[in-house]
């Protein structure tokens, strides 16, 4: 049902139940917000979205547009001198308690506060007064918190608690002393944080950011004793363009590869290859578990945030996790064993970098049992944002690049590998292979499983499906986001859900929405289905790929032929598999 409202004097019919903020968007008016994130942080805390409304002929009053519902006949004014003065005062107050190191801030130019302060021409010293000084919390291997820049919008808290269902951060103290922190003022590195980084992408300012490892990469590149290689995860190519002004959903694989080569890497490889390798190992592991009475349901292990979540919150399920390393770690292990051997390089001289959409991967590289060669499989994991910064800093005109191809021998992954970056993708890829094994012959055309793909617009709950392959019913479940994972695991625990194979990705929507992906302001996050747009790049890659099944990637079988022997062989276990820790809380 529609209600009729007047926005700045013009009539509009908007949906009942909409907020004033949403109604204004119908009228193409973007009301500024700092705290609002649709569905997860509708708390009316920053008070920036003040507008004047009049209902039922009553006098105009100031309300917060983000949480105030429209009503029939409502008159809304979004741009009055009173409103603008109030917003300006608000920004001046926020700025009076914000460390204004904008010149060197990681969020300079992508900062939502900075943009608004410019728009409203604020005087940054208008309300000069004391500012509490906070120590920077750099205890986590992935996420750094600088409360001196925090504006207490609580978007990070909502991302952690409401969206991810974790809640390791919250508001401590009160009044002017309020700050975001962990329970009992513990450091982030000492709590059950899974390093998903959703707090970082939720932050409108520079109060949260990933540990920047780009200097380590640059140092390695300039070290003559090192051979430096990089491989890029499926989702990086789908989003790196956003760092250079491309619209979300623009595939920039060739430019990305060229830019990385220009940075001086000795080889630029495609992680889609080890995604395929993961499928071969994981599917065989699943079949072996089914045939030999192993622990079921088996759960995927590609997402290091999910792994840590399982270890902390559901340690009883660590036996269910596939022992396969993640594609990133498999790649590193491959580089320092197979590749080193093949190329005659001492693994200690290989510096291997992975480019990933993920902050949890920074934690993963330091996990135990991830050093197949005796040296860490991966030396440094850099996020899409860090890759973007390196390219920018090197003065490379990304948008002008023609693009080039990945280096051999790891230059190719199948369409199945590409879709790893979207929730349901690993499952779909695995089923394409598993079906072939079970049936004992190739399928006529690659299996597609729309049932377990994300339904656009929604990330609530989990998805299940049963696929009849030959005589066998293959029962699967897919969840993305730890809140949904929790529900799924509880249903497995209670017996409500009976499946053989489960895919879980830590971030809602999968890696395309990872915590290491380019910043998008709330105004975009609230109005655009970013996850769908970004995932579309991967699904297009899949469709346009000649080879859409992992088992058809010849490069993978070459690895078995030359090095591992057979899937799940002893050698494969040594190099490509790992173990887990029951961490608890």
């Amino acid at each position: 049902m529609d209600v009729n409202v007047k926005i700045n004097g013009k009539d509009y019919a908007v949906k009942q139940g909409m907020t004033v903020l949403e109604a204004a968007r119908v009228a193409n008016i973007d009301i500024p917000t700092l705290c609002y994130l649709k569905d997860i942080n509708e708390i009316g805390a920053c008070r920036l979205c003040l507008v004047e409304v009049s209902e039922g002929g009553k006098p105009f009053k100031m309300v917060t547009a983000c949480v105030y519902p429209v009503s029939e006949g409502m008159q809304i004014l979004t741009n009055t001198p009173k409103i603008n003065a109030a917003r300006k005062t608000n920004l001046q107050l926020v700025l009076s308690n914000h460390e204004k190191k904008c010149l060197t801030c990681v969020r300079s130019t992508t900062c939502e506060l900075q943009r608004l302060c410019n728009e409203y021409k604020v005087d940054e010293d208008y309300f000069k007064g004391d500012q509490p000084k906070f120590a920077i919390d750099a205890s986590s291997p992935a996420i750094i918190r600088d409360n001196n820049k925090c504006i207490l919008c609580r978007r990070c808290v909502a991302a952690c608690k409401t969206m991810q269902g974790i809640g390791v951060i919250g508001a401590n103290d009160r009044g002017f002393d309020t700050h975001i922190g962990c329970q009992f003022e513990k450091d982030l590195g000492d709590v059950a944080c899974v390093n998903c980084g959703q707090c970082i992408v939720a932050c409108p300012v520079g109060a949260l950011y990933e540990r920047d490892d780009t200097d380590k990469v640059r140092a390695a590149i300039t070290d003559p004793t090192k051979k430096v290689y990089i491989c890029t995860a499926p989702s990086v190519r789908a989003q790196i363009g956003e760092c250079f002004g491309y619209a979300p959903g623009t595939d920039c694989e060739p430019q990305m590869v060229e830019a990385l080569k220009m940075l001086g890497f000795d080889g630029v490889f495609d992680m889609n290859l080890t995604a395929d390798l993961t499928i071969i190992e994981e599917a065989n592991e699943l079949i072996s578990r089914i045939q030999n009475g192993g622990t079921l349901p088996m759960m995927t292990s590609c997402s290091p945030g999910w792994i840590k979540y399982c270890e902390h919150y559901f340690p009883e399920f660590t036996e269910n996790l596939s022992t396969c390393k993640s594609p990133q770690q498999m790649f590193g292990a491959l580089m320092k064993t197979y590749f080193a051997q093949k190329e005659g390089i001492d693994p200690k001289d290989i510096f291997f970098v992975s480019a990933i959409p993920c902050t949890a991967k920074k934690f993963e590289v330091g996990r135990p049992d991830q050093s197949a060669s005796g040296y860490p499989d991966v030396d440094v994991a850099v996020t899409t944002r860090e890759v973007g910064r390196m390219i920018q800093q090197a003065g490379i005109d990304f948008r002008a690049l023609k693009g080039t191809e990945f280096d051999k021998p790891f230059d190719f992954g199948s369409g199945a590998g590409a879709i790893f970056g979207a929730t349901g993708g690993v499952m779909e890829a695995a089923l394409r292979y598993a079906a072939e094994i079970i049936l004992g012959k190739p399928l006529e055309k690659p299996l597609e499983t729309p049932e377990i793909r994300r339904q656009n617009g929604s990330d609530d709950g989990y998805r299940t499906a049963t696929y009849k392959v030959g005589d066998l019913d293959v029962k699967v479940a897919v969840a993305s986001g730890t809140k949904n994972a929790k529900q799924l695991l509880e249903d497995v625990k209670s017996g409500k859900l009976d499946v053989q194979f489960i895919e879980i990705m830590c971030c809602p929507g999968g890696c395309v929405n990872g915590g290491g992906q380019p910043y998008q302001p709330a105004s975009v996050r609230n109005t655009v289905d970013l996850r769908a747009l970004r995932a579309s790049v991967l699904y297009n890659d899949d469709i346009n790929c000649d080879i859409r099944e992992s088992q058809k990637n010849a490069a993978v079988w070459k690895l078995y032929e030359e090095f591992f022997g057979t899937p799940n062989s002893h050698k494969a276990h040594e190099v490509l598999h790992t173990s887990y820790i029951k961490r608890g809380l």
Binding site: E42, I43, G44, A45, C46, R47, L48, L50, M62, T64, V67, Y68, P69, A86, T89, N90, L93, V94, S96, N97, F127, G129, D130, I151, L152, R154, G170, A171, D173, R174, G175, F176, D177, T178
Partner: protein
């Protein structure tokens, strides 16, 4: 207790109990703090074995400054003894209870004459007690005494004679408005939550998180008459169709918690809480939740968030609690004093309640906590519309030490100040709103001519700054910046530009904050700026504090013609700021002076002045 006749029978039994001598001792927190414990112990010890004498505990009668208070009822007469201790109690027992000779020297005095009992004082005569009708009269730990005073009769009446809508209508007709601060019509609040009775889970909550500094009427009701709140909550539950209630009481009220706990247990035992009350099929239960000392948890949405187990922070409204409150269910929340009126409104009718106030004013009575520069401090329940003059000069006994009345702050830290020129304002919601203040929860702080209004505004703001939850930016940062500006002014570093900024920011914080705390926090600043702007200007332009309070703006000076050169001040000065030789006028080095005032207190000749 399964039927109403059982309730009436219990009342008969209770009222048939008589004693030749009844001695009561006030053991609310105010009494206990003043030493009522040893008094009641002594009396009980002396009266043990004496079947003619009954010693019992009661709540607070209201005149807290005279605690411990002990009253003796004998031969149809009532005697009030104040400022008691165990020794005095022994003497009252010997001389009065056994000997029949009242002890006049322990009685209250008015105009130099002893007053036999409290009811004869102006302090009490002008009061009308509805919410506090049982306080200081009944033993709060005895449900029988409550029943003896018509307790639970209102609940019985609504359950058997009235429809839920009829109850709401009666509360609406009574004109009762919320006594906790907002002043929202109680009946209307109930009506908003009354749809879909029996189909959706609803909650009835009681706000007992009394947080205004200087306000303690809710504590007094909880400590003196806890059943009145429980009964009213049950009535409210019946009216809106709820079966579960929460009392959110601050943990700093241990005595109130203890008595509520006892009262709930007793009500359960009597079948007045629980299932199928009076056999009518109506179920209702009450749980206690303790507030951990956050002022903001007196705000309704913050209170509910806290009950839910989260950090006590307000939520935006709408949705209002009547639609989506506790655990996202329709909820009504009233404060203790509001509830304390309900049973009487049911029993005596809306018209009766509407007859209590002064003509043309909001309905009923209101309890005020009278403190500050006033002779009689304590709790007073007066008809709405009583003038400030009556409260201060008659009930309060005026400003002590011959000082002049300067202003009164109503509504606690969220209220505003009323200058002496408006002393004839009849106190009710609308009249106070018109002059820039609020009734709030009923705090009333009296200030005399020695009060600096800038300092006073700073004092209240300091409280709200400390109590801001930190959720919304205007309150979290804005009030803090306001305080910084006031600090500058008080320190003598303020500018005229600061005054403008103060006004601008105060107005902004008021209009933009998320909840009532922030929306009212600037009130003391705004109202003093309006009423006493000259004092602000004196601080800023002349660098002087007219009331002589703000230390940084004070100068101590020795009047040469009065100084005898006795050297006493120079010897006492802790920082050696005074110089001079014997029998010659001394001098104060203002650059060294820390303005402690020791010299002025030391001088026997009145030769030192502060200016």
């Amino acid at each position: 207790m399964k039927t109403i006749s059982e309730l009436y029978a219990a009342k008969e039994v209770e009222n048939s109990k008589t004693y030749p001598v009844l001695v009561t001792v006030g053991i609310a927190t105010c009494g206990l703090a003043a030493g009522a414990g040893p008094v009641i112990d002594k009396l009980k010890e002396l009266a043990s074995g004496n079947a003619d004498v009954c010693v019992k505990q009661v709540g607070c009668i209201g005149i807290c400054q005279h605690e411990p208070i002990c009253e003796v009822y004998v031969n149809g007469e009532r005697f009030t003894y104040v400022k008691m201790n165990a020794e005095k109690a022994a003497r009252v027992y010997e001389q009065h209870i056994l000997g029949g000779r009242p002890v006049e020297e322990f009685m209250l005095t008015e105009k130099g004459e002893p007053v036999q009992n409290l009811m004869g004082t102006t302090f009490m005569k002008l009061q009308k007690r509805v919410a506090m009708r049982n306080c200081g009269i009944i033993d709060p730990e005895s449900i029988d005494e409550y029943i003896g005073r018509d307790g639970y009769r209102a609940l019985a009446k609504v359950l058997t004679e009235m429809t839920p809508d009829g109850v709401i209508q009666q509360v609406l007709d009574s004109g009762l408005r919320g006594r906790g601060g907002g002043g929202f019509p109680t009946g209307l609040k109930w009506r908003f939550a009354c749809s879909n009775r029996g189909q959706v889970k609803k909650y009835v909550c009681c706000n007992a998180d009394e947080g205004d500094p200087g306000a303690f009427m809710d504590r007094s009701v909880l400590e003196g008459d806890p059943h009145s709140v429980i009964e009213a909550m049950a009535i409210a539950a019946y009216a809106i169709g709820s079966d579960e209630g929460y009392i959110y009481v601050r943990a700093e009220y241990p005595t109130a918690i203890k008595r509520l706990t006892i009262a709930i247990e007793q009500a359960h035992r009597y079948g007045l809480l629980g299932e199928n009350i009076f056999g009518t099929g109506f179920n209702f239960d009450v749980k206690l939740r303790f507030g951990a000392g956050a002022f903001v948890c007196g705000e309704e949405t913050a209170l509910m968030t806290s009950i839910e187990g989260n950090r006590g922070e307000p939520r935006p409204r709408p949705p209002f609690p009547a639609v989506k409150g506790l655990f996202a269910r329709p909820t009504i929340l009233n404060n203790v004093e509001t509830y304390a009126n309900i049973a009487q409104i049911i029993l005596q009718g809306a018209d009766w309640y509407q007859s209590l106030q002064c003509p043309g004013c909001a309905a009923g009575t209101k309890v005020f906590a009278l403190t500050g520069k006033i002779t009689n401090t304590g709790l007073v329940e007066i008809p709405m519309g009583t003038t400030l003059r009556t409260i201060i000069e008659d009930i309060g006994g005026g400003v002590p030490n011959g000082k002049k009345f300067k202003a009164a702050q109503t509504g606690g830290p969220s209220g505003g100040c009323i200058p002496a020129s408006l002393i004839d304002t009849p106190i009710d919601y609308d009249n106070l709103a018109k002059i820039g203040s609020i009734i709030g929860s009923g705090g009333l702080i009296v200030m005399d001519e020695d009060t600096c209004m800038v300092d006073m505004a700073r004092f209240f703001l300091d409280f709200t700054v400390d109590e801001s939850c930190g959720k919304c930016a205007p309150c979290r940062i804005g009030t803090h910046r306001l305080l910084e500006i006031l600090d500058r002014i008080i320190a003598g570093n303020g500018t005229l530009e600061d005054l403008d900024k103060l006004e601008e920011l105060a107005t902004y914080v008021k209009s933009a904050s998320l909840c009532g705390l922030g929306q009212t926090a600037p009130n003391p600043v705004i109202s003093t700026l309006v009423r006493f702007r000259d004092e602000y200007v004196a601080h800023v332009v002349d660098k002087k504090c007219p009331a002589g309070v703000c230390k940084n703006l004070l100068r101590y000076r020795i009047l040469e013609d009065k100084c005898k050169g006795c050297t006493a001040c120079a010897r006492k000065c802790p920082v050696g700021a005074i110089s001079g030789t014997v029998k010659n006028p001394h001098k104060i080095d203002t650059s060294k002076c820390i303005k402690c005032g020791v010299c002025m207190a030391t001088c026997k000749f009145g030769a030192i002045v502060k200016e």
